[in-house]
């Protein structure tokens, strides 16, 4: 099925040529040096055309000659989701975050405009909504995740923008309506806002914090910040995975008059009465990305509950892999991600039981890494390891857990927080001249102006 790459054999003259050409090579795109392709007639199915799926479609189409690559993605529009916090904060217009998917789907890749509804890992088949079936030799699971608003009694994404409810995660329309709900609250001139976090791993784990910080900026700009009460309800003791940033955010919240309450999760909402119910989840439930709360635990009886009135509430729903992934044999069977997330080796990105399956992006069971920046780091690893797997060679690449969160600490300033798995989520700064501990204008400009172009380069497999 697959013809392996020929090993490089160089004689002395070729080595000399390479030496002379080394300087010029530095000026060439690295991609051209890596342009060796693998001839294969393998059937590759990529589930999902978000950041991860689109990046893999482009990368694999560049590296594979003769492969039959199918990209399963029903949506026509690509959403730059990292921009949604800026939309919900009134900084960006919603239009700025949308582009046609057709701009990014590479030639030679079959774009299947159907949602996937099932995976039969044993028979290597993917079922689609129109009852058709895609068979594969290799599968890349890049479905993203599922927002489980239904686990909060009374809550639905349709409510976002009404009754003082906001939720930046819901959709671009939801982010826009969240902006409007915050505007309405601020225009009222006083009142109580509650910001929440979810008791599960979430995508862009900094987003609930960013929404709090940008709203605080806007409240301070009114000149009568003291007329507004701001509460943050966290399901665990922490607010962020990276320890230094966690301490920083807690201190900053305290300095800015945010009332922090820990070990409470949002369990129900009464939109008409503008009341939210929070359930005490106990001090053992640390808010890290390792949560083991299962669906049944969301509705335990006899827990301590608190009813809180609000004028505005920012809802962060529990999240998980999409249902059709959870119902497949690809889901984790044990450990902290069991039943909720894709079962992959977090370093090689290969499925732990099905070697022909790789996972990338939000869907994987990993302690951190549900960001577009993680996709940037994961995509070359999946590419290299998938090609090695196709040639029955050892997997050469390892993901170090790199992720990045431009932690917006106010409208106009941010911290460029980059970290990975090692040494208790130690910092992994990309730029020696930007200290991840510093709030800076430069980090904000990167978030506001540069990360979206970098994101599109990732989609095109160029970064």
């Amino acid at each position: 099925m697959t013809r392996p790459l020929e090993p490089l054999r160089l004689d002395r003259r070729q080595l000399l040529k390479m030496g002379l050409g080394a300087g010029a090579a530095g000026l060439l795109p690295l991609g051209s040096l890596q342009a060796s392709t693998l001839s294969t007639n393998a059937r590759i199915v990529i589930l999902g055309g978000g950041a991860a799926g689109m990046a893999m479609a482009n990368r694999l189409s560049h590296r594979l000659d003769g492969a039959r690559i199918s990209l399963v993605e029903p949506r026509e529009t690509h959403h730059y989701q990292p921009g949604w916090t800026l939309v919900a904060s009134g900084v960006w217009s919603p239009e700025k975050t949308m582009r046609p998917n057709a701009n990014f789907v590479p030639g030679g890749v079959e774009w299947v405009r159907q949602p996937a509804v099932g995976i039969d890992a044993e028979r290597r088949r993917v079922s689609l909504a129109d009852a058709s079936v895609l068979e594969y030799d290799y599968l890349v699971v890049a479905t993203g995740l599922q927002l489980n608003y239904h686990l909060i009694d009374g809550m639905s994404p349709d409510l976002v923008g009404t009754h003082g409810i906001g939720s930046v995660y819901a959709s671009i329309e939801g982010a826009t309506r969240t902006r409007d709900a915050i505007n309405t609250w601020i225009a009222k001139g006083s009142g109580k806002g509650i910001f929440t976090a979810a008791p599960t791993p979430v995508k862009c784990a900094g987003a609930p914090l960013k929404m709090t910080f940008t709203t605080l900026s806007r409240l301070e700009d009114t000149g009568h910040r003291n007329d507004f009460q701001v509460d943050f309800m966290a399901p665990g003791a922490g607010l962020f995975s990276q320890p230094w940033v966690n301490d920083f955010v807690k201190q900053r919240f305290d300095d800015q008059g945010v009332n922090r309450r820990h070990h409470y999760r949002l369990s129900a909402i009464d939109p008409g009465a503008r009341q939210a119910e929070f359930t005490f989840v106990g001090p053992d439930s640390e808010f890290t990305s390792h949560h083991e709360l299962r669906e049944s635990e969301f509705s335990q009886e006899g827990e301590r509950r608190v009813i809180a009135d609000y004028d505005f509430i920012h809802v962060v729903p529990p999240m998980s892999a999409p249902d059709f992934v959870r119902e497949s044999d690809l889901i984790a069977r044990e450990g902290s991600f069991r039943g909720e997330w894709l079962d992959v080796d977090i370093h090689t990105m290969q499925h732990n039981r099905y070697p022909e399956v790789f996972g990338i992006g939000d869907v994987i069971g990993a302690p951190i890494n549900k960001t577009a920046a993680s996709v940037k780091a994961q995509a070359p690893v999946v590419e290299a390891n998938l090609l090695a797997q196709m040639q029955e060679q050892p997997l050469p690449a390892r993901h170090n857990g790199y992720t990045s969160c431009p932690m917006i600490t106010g409208i106009g300033k941010a911290m460029l927080v980059e970290f990975g798995y090692e040494n208790d989520f130690d910092f992994l700064p990309s730029f020696p001249f930007i200290d991840p501990r510093d709030e800076s204008w430069t980090a904000w400009v990167m978030k506001d102006r540069m990360l979206q172009p970098a994101y599109y380069a990732v989609l095109e497999g160029q970064a």
Binding site: L27, L28, P29, L30, G31, S32, V91, G410, I411, G412, K413, F433, I434, D435, D438, E439, S440, W441, T442, W444, V445, D448, R449, M450, Q452, P453, A454, Y456, A457, E460, Q462, A463
Partner: protein, 119 residues
């Protein structure tokens, strides 16, 4: 990061402002070209007004560059922030000077011609 990747990022970053960049470069080239055809030489023409105006344009960046980036000058705090801001201000002043300096020559050119004729 490959050069191709860097170029892709640059392309996406500059695309919304392409019209502005083209207009600015067009203005600069047009003014330089016309002035040089009429005898303008960079080092021979002295004009304090052009230099002061260019400086003012550069310094105005301290106000509108943060605004342009949805921020404020008060958030320019770290050493690298100031290096980046200083670079932007100097670049802005230099670009303004490249336009204003020959422009002042063109405005005064008839006077130069008269002075030469008188002599």
């Amino acid at each position: 990061m490959t050069i191709q990747g860097a170029l892709t990022i640059l392309m996406y970053a500059l695309a919304p402002f392409l019209w502005l960049i083209v207009a600015g470069v067009g203005l600069l080239v047009a003014v330089q070209l016309v002035a040089r055809l009429r005898g303008y030489r960079t080092l021979h023409h002295r004009c304090k007004l052009a230099s002061l105006a260019s400086l003012a344009v550069g310094l105005s960046g301290l106000w509108w560059i943060p605004l342009f980036t949805n921020s404020r000058l008060g958030y320019v705090t770290t050493l690298f922030d100031w290096v980046a801001m200083a670079g932007a201000v100097i670049g802005l002043a230099f670009a303004a000077w490249l336009v204003l300096h020959p422009l002042t020559y063109l405005v005064r050119a008839p006077r130069y011609v008269r002075q030469k004729g008188t002599a």
